[in-house]
Symmetry: C4
Subunit: 370 residues, 4 copies
């Protein structure tokens, strides 16, 4: 299986154009699944708006020649701070699915986080991109609410396939109230499935009267901090947790020796009415105090957003929906284009802000309107 090269349709000037065009290419169910959020989608919108509300106060006439967007993460140098977030079932967006996304990431030097719910096998992906000279890191994402034996097996597979870190999503012990998705009558199309999760669908318990299908059944498998500690002890890979929104939880993670934090509200897909990630990021950065890498996702659509995230204390950012839009629009070529657009915009934002490297960026760059 190889990602098909596909030519880029015209009219794609920025990530918003990719979204607009992707809506015309996906069927209604796929669009609802990928673009929808929880509840009234307040957090989904606020994620975006929170970046927009922040303002950059640029400096002039500073030395920017020979600047670059490089960052260092877990001992590797990355060409730029944009990673692709884990997104399930990408073959719903395009036949090549996660393979195309990973391939584009590799070509563009972007880190790639493969979802446990991938619709293409992790080994297939790893082999296909292994040889790309400029490729960024490949990480594997997982949920803890599965049996430990199954999880360990998955972790071993990831280690052997060459994935370089584990990302544990901790903000979804249950699904959010995804009304748009439910209204669409969501079901996986024929031929698309979570290839590593076959037979993993758990049997519902028999409930007594007055018991809750959530609290008294599903959540019996909800993970705790000890599960994270267990995982950390059973893998040689760095372990990041994704879904942190509270500074106290960041402190706990640091105390447990975890290796990284991804500030995220799951793209507004779990609990509607959380703060935007841009709103909690500075508090978490302060709590972590540089003890481990800090990443953020949610609503990043412009190079200026990336720069703002760095200014608020992030080491790198992840994008989700935008690259799925690129995928729907033109397969690997579309994903590569989305990454390239964002990176080019970041370079321009840096040059126009008077910073040559991301190390020079701090909260000083943000305008305090008071």
């Amino acid at each position: 299986m190889t990602a098909q090269l596909q030519s880029l349709p015209p009219g794609l000037t920025n990530l918003e154009d990719h979204a607009t065009q992707a809506q015309t290419r996906m069927d209604e169910i796929a669009w609802a699944y990928f673009s929808g959020g929880a509840g009234d989608e307040y957090t989904l919108r606020d994620n975006r708006d929170a970046w927009t509300r922040l303002q950059l106060q640029p400096r002039i006439l500073r030395p920017v020649a020979r600047g670059h967007t490089r960052i260092s993460l877990f001992g590797r140098t990355l060409e730029h701070p944009v990673l692709l977030a884990p997104v399930a079932y990408q073959r719903m967006a395009h036949g090549d699915g996660e393979l195309a996304s990973a391939y584009a990431a590799a070509a563009q030097g972007a880190g790639f986080v493969l979802s446990m719910q991938t619709s293409v096998a992790m080994q297939t992906i790893a082999q296909a991109v292994q040889a790309e000279p400029a490729r960024g890191p490949m990480w594997f994402q997982l949920y803890m609410h599965y049996e430990r034996g199954f999880l360990l097996d998955l972790v071993r597979q990831a280690e052997e396939a060459g994935y370089e870190a584990l990302v544990v999503t901790v903000d979804a012990p249950t699904s959010g109230v995804r009304d748009r998705e439910r209204r669409s009558g969501f079901r996986l199309p024929d031929g698309v499935s979570a290839v590593h999760l076959a037979q993993q669908y758990r049997q519902s318990r028999q409930l007594e009267p007055g018991q809750s299908a959530l609290f008294d059944d599903l959540l019996l498998a909800a993970p705790g901090w000890d599960d994270l500690a267990w995982l950390k002890a059973h893998t040689r890979l760095p372990v990041l947790i994704k879904g942190v929104l509270h500074e106290e939880d960041a402190r706990i993670a640091a105390g447990l020796g975890l290796d990284g934090i991804i500030v995220s509200n799951h793209g507004g897909r779990t609990l509607d009415s959380t703060p935007a990630t841009a709103a909690v990021l500075p508090r978490i950065a302060q709590a972590v105090g540089g003890r481990m890498p800090l990443l953020v996702d949610g609503g990043i659509r412009r190079g200026t957003d990336v720069l703002k995230a760095i200014a608020l204390g992030a080491n790198a950012v992840l994008i989700g929906r935008p690259y799925v839009h690129g995928l729907a629009n033109a397969g690997a070529m579309g994903v590569a284009h989305v990454i390239r657009l964002l990176r080019d915009e970041l370079e321009i934002a840096m040059a126009l802000s008077g910073v040559a490297t991301l190390e020079q960026v701090s909260a000083e760059l943000l305008f305090r309107n008071s």
Copy 2:
């Protein structure tokens, strides 16, 4: 008379869907009556927006298994903190009227507050639901501005029929400026009436020139705190007051030994331009200091709203319009569906916020954006 079981129409994913669909089922007058507010409906909108503006800052990896939504109120354990607020003339929304609503409440373990202006007799309702095993408490709502003899008789009827508390609405010594209702040319349809208020319509006084029909006639019957004290002395039931928006009034109520407070602006139907109930709730909670149960209504449409209300200090919440929409859409089945949706959303919101019980919820759960 028995509430008809009716099947649920498709497309009802959340309470907003119920509202949208109900508008197509009610005639214009009924819609204007139930959905309209006072004046420019600023308070009506602000009630809703104030919950939306509040943000939850969730915790992760906390023990939530075997959690529950139960609360304790006046010595009873309720399955969840959602009650049905008193709403008049429910037979305008559906032929089964209050009977269907009470039946659905009983089936879903929700408390039910019957309006003094019920269009089905309180005894009929009490008998119909008495035997429901999981039913929540039945309370009776009344206005004080009628003759004491008549009131006492009504109170006795409620006591004998098994109602467990009295709710006195104190925020409407006169009706609000309900322009939408007036524009619709409101009148009760044939066959719908306030069955306990026959012959209770008071005669207007003859006014002298320069006198006000409001101040010099209608308001002569407006109740005071002493009327509340009198009522408290003449019933064995707990007495709650509904319509408190000021912390000082909450202190007075506590000082008088009243049994509970419902923070309410009458769903935006009386004085337009009051604060949203979410805005005054924390002050009133502080004033009450746990001396008596505190409930709140107005704009609650999501499980996250319920959770926010608890976080601001409420013991429970009431919904009004949403269950009338359910009633219009599918009778008792529709009301039950509305309660169920809200309770399910509350469970999910709790799980995703990292709280297992409502007792664990405090203002700490709310994000302070400062």
Copy 3:
């Protein structure tokens, strides 16, 4: 000349309805003239929005029986605190013009301020309403940028005709940038004129190159504080100034012994981008410290707005556009209806706020959201 009684068209529930309907009755020029503001009409909208943003925090179970809306002003008792502001050329809105407005004001106990640019003679109006038993005060408005001889003659006419106070408009040494009016191609219709200003149109001076038609010609006639002192010395009537927006100017007025202040930005018709009158009112109230009556206009459309104005320190309010709408809709009957609606809403707002008289109203009634 007598104001024709005219029946009220249906569908007029509130002042906004009057506006909507009036637009269909006036020709485009009249509508642009009466409803337009200066510049981008920011102040026009903000006047309205500023009242809306204020919130009332009502008290419950207070004694409101036998309450009333009466106020005391310059030694007279007024039935309620609503006056009609000076508006020019009212015969553009309805053939009866100012006569109808004055007649309606008298019938409804409202104070009436006749514009110097009235299209009906002040004597005609005074005689027509003199005998109305419940009539409120009649005041006469004037601009100072006319010759003193002419002004004195006008003042004497007003004194003799029975006008009880002089209102000097001080915020318009020149007209505002009234773009909507200019776009409409404004001109007075045949038969409508400022009946007291015949032959008062001043001749333009011959300007030298580089001189400004405004600064070097028109503004040579702009009045100063000394002109106000002169007027005060030459009339036995109380003198109010209208158009105060700065607390310092209020202090100066009080120091000069003027008799009253009207906080106004000319209904947003002069300088666009002034603060809303509701925003400056409390500062001016504090500066005046009760030394003289304080009135306010601009954006008052609801009884709750009147109550808020009193709470911010005003003794009374004026309305402008709303009564012109009533005038266009049904002559004197329409104006009376507008006043009545506002007064009824005020009574209801008082009753629902728990206040029996306007003397009980203070800033305590306003909710401070902090």
Copy 4:
């Protein structure tokens, strides 16, 4: 070559009307080029909104007769504080291009800043307007990122042609992300070019793998403060820098002995998400402390905006798009009309605010809503 006099089309009441009408006269590419901004055009809108949000708190009854709008700048007296900002390729908007704009500026006493990317030769323009009796100053704008020899030659030409100051644009070491312009498929029409920049298009460097076309090629020519110092040392003209948004950079400029600062974000055309110029102006004014003239552009559309800019500490303002709209609408006549409208509005705003001269204007005139 002479600017054609052209009659003014009807319906142009203010600068917004000019914009609306200009859109119908320009082709799509020209409209996108002149009216578009960078990115999501947030800064473009915010520039405008920031002036609107500021409120003037006018004083009354002050002496305004014989007032004027004159200011003093670099030893010259200007009739008013409105200058025309440098705008490239004006022959795209109208055949007469920069010649018409300069001619209109001269006729209206407005300062004119000619863009280095002018489509009409600077000498042609200088000769055409030299004789206008009331003309304001002519300045020449340039970018530093070209060879010094070429720049010196250009500076000498400007000096000889009679330009009175140099304006160095420092906020665009690279172009912004001008999506609207890119979407339009921008290209210069036949016959329009930057007449002083022929053969100045630099050759791209050959990049190594992993190098950035921006950081490793284009920005090698990006100027620094030393380049400004060099320029200052090589011309007898005052040197202003345009594009300052940070108070620290203003301090550096003052320390280097530069002659003036233009607070600007390039009309929202470079870095989207900078603060509005009105937001940074007061800080820069404080940093500069009167040591040199301070000008501002971005979003000025009303005389009240000009007055607000002066109140925040600017000595003068520049307009860009509005005069290009006038140019498109009626050539020199249209530009003159735009300047006249703004000046007339400024006079009216001053008179209605109670100020006779701009020297009397300070931050006191602004309402602080706190």
